[in-house]
Amino acid sequence: MAYFKDAWPLAFVLAAANPTNAATPIDTDPAAFFQSGSLADALETASADVKQDESGAGPGAGPRRIRLSQWFNFANCFSGVWRRC
């Protein structure tokens, strides 16, 4: 899994997506925030932005390519080992 070393952490990608919509109640309703899939839209937004960058339409277009599957593959690497292992 050496190549994952160079991929961005999923936490950063979601933070960078900077969700501002009311459906993501970060401050007002943490219980709703901590629902599975609550940031799926934000991730879609980030993916769309990356695609735009890849096509050269966005600022700083270059050799950046972050694929959704990589983030989840990364998560899967650890899915069986989430404590001391």
Binding site: M1, A2, Y3, F4, K5, D6, A7, W8, P9, L10, A11, F12, V13, L14, A15, A16, N18, P19, T20, T24, I26, D27, P30, A31, F33, F34, Q35, S36, G37, S38, L39, A40, A42, L43, D49, V50, D53, G58, P59, G60, P63, R64, R65, Q70, W71, F72, F74, A75, F78, S79, G80, V81, W82, R83, R84, C85
Partner: protein
């Protein structure tokens, strides 16, 4: 068909160092897993696993590298005869004996390496000591460098103590300057023979949250891709990934000790004492029929108790959707019952990771958005 997520094999209970917080009860026992145990795993356990399953086999507890490499060569040759083709092998080490031969072996066999390094020298050496009481940081770091030179980038496990929490910058700079990008944090817990955690009865949830958040902020600002496993797991669930707590379903996790004893659910059950559960020793693969172990009444009763504990978590805890019901071994050790909910592990591990991530999202709203997207200093094209 059976699709275990994790198979922990303990080639020896022996460990060559003596960490202050070690929870292993038999770290002085030099028993090595016998050929007959390896054969039993090959013949009675692995053939039950679905052929297209992708289990992780981890060599763990005590220190696996105290067993000579030829033993592993034989074990790999035997186990691969019946293991699913996509089985991943990994090894958790303190790095003390992890020299060139081990690195070649890891490359040859595709074995992933996890290294235990408790951050900067002063924090590591305060607790991770040789049997003569000397620090082990130099030896662990030498192993890290040799692995990196061989282009093997280990996952680093760091155990936190109260004093760590005020040293965010020192920890971040340690990871950054040593090119450690994949980190997992454990807390010093009372478990097994380690009866008293350095966290005591204090409430450190906020302090641990601040520690994780502080690390992420610096990493984000500097463009260093620091993956914190506990945060990544929660982030992946919030992004729509699957929630799977493998510690609550019987045989999602399988642990086989050097003498053939077997447990499931939490790997740490090997060290937990409970008369009502026969110390979570569910059988021995040399003396018991594995079909009977697999379907035993004790396992079923234990699973039912764990399920009732998970129901309590579901009803009471706002983090349930990103946790899945906690760690049964901690419930037993701390609360004295599997049918219980919150533990120190929840407060000091799961909840801080979730809250640190929530703070990260909130904070990122105020940060210039192009900081991340347009200037990833460390980003290079992933090799697929």
């Amino acid at each position: 068909m059976w699709r275990p997520a994790l198979i922990v094999l303990q080639p020896t209970p022996f460990c060559n160092i003596a960490c202050d917080y070690c929870y292993l009860r038999h770290r002085d026992d030099r028993t090595v897993m016998g050929d007959e145990v390896v054969s039993a795993i090959r013949d009675r356990i692995f053939p039950r696993i679905a052929r297209d399953a992708t289990p992780t086999v981890i060599w763990h507890a005590g220190e696996p590298t105290t067993v000579p490499i030829p033993w592993y060569r034989n074990a790999y040759a035997e186990l691969r005869k019946t293991a699913p083709e996509a089985t991943n092998f990994s090894l958790q080490s303190n790095g003390i004996g992890l020299g060139r031969e081990w690195i070649l072996f890891a490359r040859e066999t595709g074995t992933q390496i996890g290294l235990s390094i408790d951050g900067p020298r002063e924090f590591h050496d305060a607790r991770r000591k040789t049997r003569n009481g000397k620090g082990t940081w130099d030896l662990a770091m030498q192993a890290l460098r040799e692995l990196q030179q061989a282009r093997i980038h280990p996952n680093v496990v760091t155990v936190l103590h109260p004093r760590s929490l005020g040293a965010i910058d020192a920890y971040f700079e340690f990871y950054r300057d040593n090119d450690i990008s994949h980190v997992s944090f454990s807390i010093d817990e009372s478990e097994g023979r380690h009866a008293t955690s350095s966290f005591g009865a204090g409430d450190y949830t906020e302090a641990i949250t601040g520690f994780l958040f502080g690390l992420m902020k610096r990493a984000y600002r500097e463009g260093f891709p620091l993956h914190i496993k506990e945060v990544e797991r929660i982030a992946s669930i919030l992004a729509g990934g699957e929630l799977h707590n493998e510690q609550i379903d019987a045989w999602d996790v399988l642990v086989v000790a050097a003498n053939g004893d077997v447990t499931t659910f939490s790997p740490e059950f090997m060290e937990v004492r409970s008369q009502a559960h026969r110390n979570f020793n569910f059988g021995n693969i040399l003396t018991d029929d594995f079909d009977r172990i697999f379907t035993s009444a004790l396992v079923a009763r234990t699973e039912a108790e764990i399920r009732r504990g998970v129901d309590l978590c579901r009803a009471r805890c706002r983090y349930f959707a990103v946790c899945g019901g906690g760690a049964p071994s901690n419930k037993m050790q701390e609360n004295g019952s599997l049918e219980s909910a919150e533990t120190q592990f929840c407060r000091f591990s799961v909840q801080p990771a979730a809250e640190a991530f929530r703070k990260m999202i909130h904070w990122a709203r105020q940060e210039p958005r192009d900081r991340f997207i347009s200037s990833p200093r460390h980003f290079v094209e992933p090799r697929i």
